[in-house]
């Protein structure tokens, strides 16, 4: 039986996923919620597959854990299970994901069978999804959604405020966020970010 280590910081998802994997005849050797526990369990159990959440809060991302695990066990199979439609929405520097990895977006998961398939086929790897944004647009969008002002975004990115305004305009175009009287574009963009990051939609 294929042994799987589940790393997911959301306890609800963690429990659900573990149940689903057991149902599909995987051996779930451990379920953990933090990077520290993940590496500890990994060193001890050396599972065949690691199912990693991409966003583990502050600190290393799932992608960093994958690199760390491959250093210990180069042949380990890696599958990312994440709510981010594009890893760059979590961290704009996540442009190069580790090779030979599966990438599953939670929102698109209609059936647990799909997840089982992804794990079985993770040796071949899969295409990492990309939204229609450049790195700098993704970063600007992330900071905007974090509630920062244009001036603060410009300060952090060390660019002119006008560049930030331009990046926001381009992002809105790319995401098809209309600029009209009825909606505040900034709020609409933040909502678009939350939707793509799988973080909910906010009040209707």
């Amino acid at each position: 039986m294929t042994s799987v280590l589940v790393v997911e910081d959301d306890s609800f998802v963690r429990a659900t996923v573990a149940t689903a994997l057991r149902f599909h005849d995987f051996e779930v050797v451990a379920t953990v919620g933090t990077a520290l526990e993940a590496m500890e369990e990994f060193r001890q159990l050396l599972p065949d597959i690691a199912l990693l959440d991409l966003d583990l809060g502050q600190g290393p991302t799932g992608a960093d854990l994958a690199v760390g695990m491959r250093r210990i066990q180069p042949e380990v199979g890696i599958v990312f299970l994440t709510s981010f439609e594009d890893p760059r929405l979590l961290d704009s520097r996540l442009t190069n994901m580790p090779e030979r990895c599966g990438y599953v977006v939670k929102q698109s998961l209609e059936d647990t069978e799909f997840l089982a398939e992804a794990i079985r086929g993770c040796g071949e790897g899969g295409a990492v999804p990309r939204v229609n944004l450049t790195e700098s647009q993704a970063e600007t969008l992330r900071l905007l959604a974090a509630g920062l002002s244009n001036a603060e975004i410009a300060r952090l990115r060390v660019v002119e405020v006008s560049s930030v305004e331009k990046a926001i305009r381009r992002t809105a175009e790319a995401l098809g966020v209309e600029h009209d009287e009825a909606t505040n574009q900034r709020v609409a963009l933040a909502r678009a970010y939350y939707r793509m990051a799988g973080l909910g939609r906010g009040p209707a």
Partner: protein, 554 residues
């Protein structure tokens, strides 16, 4: 000159509540009492006693006139200020009346010197008295009013500051309490809801509706504008003596005319003119010098005032005596004694008036800036509260409500799922984060903890708190350095140092990675380091292997 001084116009100061007052009379009477002795020639105990009696009687008359004025024309001065000229007129009339009374009574008692004619002396003295109080009374009212305004505003302001400070310390010291205050009722409500969850699925939709209602309410309250209680008072510091202890105006406006009239009345116009002009010149010299000293050392202001008026008053009297013929020193002695007292009183009054006029705008601005800075901080905290409310709302909405919806659609174990959703919400609300100052070591540990899964991290942090507004920057820098060390340097060991410096903190992170890769990498955190340090940072490869990054945050 500002249109208003400490928030009041000249007319409101002079013609208002302080136009005539018991305190004003208490200040004027000793000076006026002494002034009579300036005219007491050939002082013998008997004559001095007579002078004193006359002086006291005349003061009584002065007080009576003021009292009459206060009960009649100045009756409503507290509510509605009267004209400045009315105050001048009352001052002049009462001054003239008092001096006239002194002359008449002295004549009756045979205290006047034989050579002078009664009418001339009477007119000269009355003119002197009118001039002195005509100028003195409005000035005194102005000084008292400014002083009272100073004191009231200052007290009010200090109370306000204390109140602000209290609120502030409560909010800063109790951010956790703030969080708890906001989240506790919500958590309790969720617990109640969890208890209500039976096996009937119909309850779940009620619970979901309840959660949605709470989220909506929190969201709405967070959008309400922060309280807007502006403070617009000047910092009022009674520092006139520090500011200008010896105002030239006191010499020119009050001392000179009164000296001229007084000596002229006693002697003749040429003597009056010579002595008052030379005395004034001597006095101007002393005042000029004193002012220079006070400007160089403002702390010496009060000393300069005392010494300056003592020396100036005596010197002016001596010089006046010398230039008016230099005879009869004994006869002029009383004048030399009363002169400094008279000078000191008018100087003090003018100094306070001038200080009030000149300083008012400046002190008000200073205080407002102080208050505004605090207000900004308070405002920030109120925004923090709003942000927290939004955080809680989004947990309720995004997590709990979403999961309750899932639970409703899973008929088999919906109650269990719903309870789990509520538990999750309770747990998350307990962990909502709010920015506060953090000990450097604790911050370093918190940021490093997750990375220690992948690398050995050694922390060496100086004691001290990273201020709340810098916590984010320090943790961003650490996070950036650690992730770079792992991702780009493939490091396995990292050394984190946070050093306290005279102005701010120095963050140094060194690793044993491939070094060069990182040192070359222009994009790796460069913009962040640049932004938080204002350019004061460096990244160098180490001799053997690895890379060291130093970022200074002030």
């Amino acid at each position: 000159m500002p249109r208003t001084i400490l928030g009041l116009t000249w007319r409101e100061h002079i013609g208002g509540r302080w136009a005539v007052s018991l305190l004003g009379f208490a200040i004027v009477s000793p000076v006026a009492f002494l002034a009579v002795f300036a005219n007491a020639r050939q002082p013998t105990p008997d004559r001095l006693l007579q002078w004193a009696a006359i002086s006291l009687f005349s003061l009584g008359a002065l007080g009576l006139i003021w009292l009459l004025a206060a009960k009649t024309v100045l009756r409503h001065r507290g509510e509605r200020a009267v004209s400045i000229w009315l105050v001048v007129a009352i001052g002049a009339v009462s001054g003239a009346a008092r001096s006239g009374l002194v002359v008449v009574m002295s004549d009756q008692a045979g205290l006047l010197d034989p050579p002078t004619t009664f009418t001339a002396v009477l007119l000269a003295r009355m003119a002197t008295g009118a001039a002195q109080l005509g100028v003195g009374m409005p000035l005194l009212a102005m000084a008292l009013s400014a002083n009272s305004r100073y004191r009231n505003e200052r007290r009010r302001l200090l109370e306000q500051q204390a109140e602000l400070l209290k609120r502030q310390s409560q909010e800063v010291g109790a951010t956790r309490a703030l969080r708890d205050a906001l989240t506790d009722p919500v958590r309790k409500r969720l617990r109640d809801l969890a208890d209500r969850l039976g096996d009937e699925n119909s309850v779940i939709s009620d619970v979901a509706l309840d959660v949605r209602g709470q989220a909506h309410e929190l969201w709405t309250t967070s959008l309400q504008p922060a309280s807007d209680d502006r403070v617009r008072f000047g910092r009022v510091v009674a520092a006139s003596l520090r500011y200008n202890p010896l105002p030239i105006a006191a010499v020119l406006l009050v001392w000179f005319p009164s000296a001229f009239l007084s000596v002229t009345g006693r002697d003749s116009v040429p003597v009056g003119a010579t002595s008052s002009i030379t005395g004034t010149i001597a006095l101007l010299g002393v005042f000029f010098l004193g002012t220079r000293i006070a400007h160089a050392r403002p702390g010496l202001g009060p000393v300069v005032f005392v010494v300056g008026t003592l020396i100036g008053g005596s010197l002016a009297a001596v010089v006046a005596w010398w230039f008016s013929g230099g005879s009869n020193l004994q006869g002029n002695l009383p004048l030399m004694i009363t002169s400094p007292v008279w000078l000191a009183s008018i100087t003090l009054v003018v100094s306070v008036v001038e200080g009030a006029v000149r300083q008012s705008e400046w002190v008000i601005r200073r205080l407002q800036e102080g208050i505004d800075a605090r207000e900004v901080e308070l405002h920030t905290q109120e925004r923090q509260r709003a942000q927290l409310a939004q955080e809680v709302a989004s947990v309720l909405h995004g997590v709990v409500q979403g999961r309750l919806a899932v639970a409703q659609r899973s008929p088999d174990d919906s109650a269990a799922l719903a309870r789990q959703a509520l538990d999750e919400g309770i747990e998350m609300l307990g962990a909502a984060s709010v920015a506060t100052a953090v000990a450097a070591e604790q911050l370093a540990r918190e940021v490093s903890a997750p990375w220690s899964a992948l690398m050995d991290i050694n922390i060496d942090a100086d004691e001290g708190m990273i201020p709340a507004d810098r916590v984010r920057d320090v943790s961003d820098v650490l996070e950036e350095c650690l992730s770079n060390a792992f991702r780009h340097g493939s490091a396995s060991r990292v050394e984190v140092k946070i050093q306290r410096q005279d102005s701010g903190w120095l963050v140094v992170v060194s690793d044993n990675g491939s070094g060069l890769d990182q040192a070359r990498g222009a994009g790796l955190g460069t913009s962040l380091f640049e932004a938080v340090s204002g350019g004061d940072w460096s990244r160098k490869p180490m001799a053997d292997s690895g890379c060291v990054v130093a970022v200074r945050l002030t």
